[in-house]
Symmetry: D3
Subunit: 198 residues, 6 copies
């Protein structure tokens, strides 16, 4: 019943691209517990993770593009697994790691395309390169910033998310940004932008 | 009235990070015209652009991480400008390009962090490197794929968005993926995933 | 830092009630894969499951209130685990069943309140009573009806959800309702209602 | 123009099930007045009402499954009437009670299915059994808990909803739970859950 | 406990303005029955009603501003009553008309402000002026156009809403617009706009 | 490929009406920057602008219906331009004013219909009549009231929007309403409504 595609390599990339589109809809599940009815998507989280990874890497002397690339793919498995909150841990276990999910996702891709994804996921999961550490800190820092933004939107109970994110940071610059964010305002950028306008 | 931050470099990065958070909320405006009440955000679009840029670059012999990095920042100016649809063009003009917006956004950033962003934006806007061309094709291809996904969700009038995206592609691989997507199904990946499950 | 409540029994019930409120926000994750941006919540699914369980039980000669009660609690563990889609199965395993989650949820409840929940969950999970079988069929039938409703809203790719739900039904009456739904219209009730109005 | 269904009993149940699906979309209208743009649905409210009815009945010595069953159907008429806020009362009157709506809803159902619904609605509306009183208290308590959750999400003006819900409670246990909720936190359950995790 | 305002006239207008803000949240309830999870608000409906009333009046030789003004206030009572769907009619009756609701809404307003609203509502409800007939036709035509737009978004079951709206039209020009809309496309305007662009 | 419509005048009005439907989806972009994920639409804003314009005009001795009519069309160009936030001003300029957009929008309309819209837009943009000044104040006042409503919903950073709206008001009555709103409560109307109920 399934037509054989005339260009299987391109079809496999199109299929993966549609699968990655699911990240636009998968919600970051922890925020539901805080009371957020329509929290941001995994895609929205991942974009800022990748951008923060680039900025942190720049200041930590690592490769910004590589750090960002790891951030870009770090939750791409959640098209299939969704985002499991911490509260699930006593009841649910991963029987296959993110590398295994990625391997299945890219199984039909042409070689170079497959390799660039599996390489990024493996490096991120191993956490041994400076870029992987910057990307992991970006993941935590993004959550902390989002918690502050939800607090500025009225949600009262975000402190546990701030604390656990702050505690996990390992790079000096990510810690400085976290502390600056905790001391600052979520709308500081806007005040600056207005001040410099004619 | 504004406290002077004790760590101005980190504060500037925190401010920019909060500004980038606005991309989670800015909607891709063209889809409103097609009838989509709650279309995807610029952040959601940008993440898949960056991922597609990496995949296209891998197959085109360019640097995947660099191409993705350009994709990551290509719409980051829309925190201030929002996403202007094509229909605005007869009435609205850019008086300063994306490089100028980015320059204002990173004005207070420490040097390395500022440079990594301005460099990425400049390279993308000039469109002279292979990575910039892959990122631009990823931008168009993402729109085409999203149009197909909206059609699969019931929206009838997406053809103009498909046609103009397809017409702008310049790399051979992006064109192949577009044609494969047009011949395939938005849920092909799911069928494959189920088939290979035990 | 935590105040000791003056009425620990009532506090435990209030805590559980707030936890059950999370079901209003947890989304039915499979529909994200079909392209639904804002699918129904687990609470919305569970209500119709319980109502259908009552109707099926009535026609199958089982106890409607009991069957409905099992349906009412059948996904109440998803406050902690969220709704795992089928696509997660190759990668994620339950290390503790729903009874274990429920046990933790009701650990501080007064005895009668705790027992009524654990009893319902245990009976549902064992699937040996007629009421448990009616509730399970209601769970599948609800998904099938929802798939038809998403199709009537424009979503094209719901067939796999229809097929797998239909295949799992075990009671004669649930099968008849599924077949009638497949042959009918999602707005048949509305046509009937208008016809009988003065 | 309407096909005669081959299985009218099953078709009638399928029709009612689609009608009950409307409860997933009907919003609890009072919250719009407080400023909530996307408040919970009647289905989401009803699920927690039914669950609370079971818990209250357990502690009040009534039949939990029966009390829950009454809660399950108590707003099922709102597929046709929607949820009328208190502010409508000076201008709008019910010309036929909930029993009459239910009678129309189940008019074509097979006898056992029809009777289980009409029996539950009649018992709830008469409010003479302990189970009906537990279900009514669950309705009010659910509203009070939801008001506290909206307050924890930032909404300032929920006090009138808390006061009127609290004032209507008639069972001792529901009053204790209300008072415990007013003295406690909407995220108390989460703190407990984390404390007991390894 | 309530402070006496120092400027009671202005306070009354501010209060009414906040009440009118509720129209941004009250949903057009009939669409829930068709399967629309997040249908347009009464405010969104009312704006297009007023605009259409102006256009119809212009072509019918009536006063466009007056017709629009009637449209602007025609559903303003729904801050208190919400939007009752047709299916509620056998069970719910208005005990006081829209003029009575409006009278309560403007009871504390300064005289000129109160009179402009009550005058518009009374003229609309009496339906004797050409402007009132244009505004009523605009109300029906708006519903018909919205039904076509939901159909173009994938919803299959909008025909009853089209038929009843079309049947109620009384002015020649509104009928012509309805027929043109039924023969045309919801995205015709976009095609025109693109054609005339440089 | 495009059918020639048999009634070009009515088709042009139907086309414009569908275009105006886009205002139901275009979001007021500034609120995204404050952290509002799903802010009100331009249509929702415009309705209250028109209603406020009528109320202000009544008290200022201007023509309420005319002032409201100007408010009704004042943002109708945003179907094509969307709502540009203040932060875009250093980078984006209007090359053609709102009159030019309107001229294109009504180009194919029959003459009376076209003239009523272009006349309203021209009068509003010139800001020389009392009605135009009332409508402009209504635009600012609506923003101020909405800011207060978002603050009552938990959003902390709305002060800049309040300040700039208040500063721009030019009529005495609009200023009084703004000051009364700043001194009052967003739910004052509800308290009044309950007090007068039997």
């Amino acid at each position: 019943m399934t037509r054989t595609p005339t260009d299987p390599d391109a079809t496999a990339v199109a299929d993966l691209a549609h699968e990655l589109g699911v990240l636009k809809r998968v919600r970051r599940a922890g925020w539901w517990q805080v009371g957020v009815r329509d929290p941001e998507s995994v895609a929205e989280h991942s974009l800022r993770v990748a951008q923060l990874a680039g900025l942190i890497a720049a200041e930590e002397g690592a490769d910004p593009a590589r750090a960002a690339y790891l951030g870009l793919w770090h939750d791409s498995q959640e098209t299939r697994t969704t985002d499991l909150p911490h509260s699930a841990r006593p009841y649910v276990a991963r029987t296959a790691g993110n590398e295994a999910v990625t391997r299945d996702q890219v199984a039909r891709l042409p070689e170079a395309a497959a390799r660039t994804v599996t390489g990024a996921v493996a490096e991120y999961e191993e956490r041994t390169t400076p870029e992987a550490r910057c990307a992991k800190d970006a993941d935590l820092l993004e959550c902390l910033l989002q918690a502050l933004e939800y607090r500025a939107a009225g949600y009262q109970h975000v402190q546990p998310w701030i604390d656990s994110s702050r505690a996990g940071l390992t790079t000096a610059f990510a810690r400085r940004v976290a502390d600056a964010a905790l001391a600052g305002s979520t709308l500081g950028w806007h005040e600056q932008a207005r001040r410099t306008q004619p």
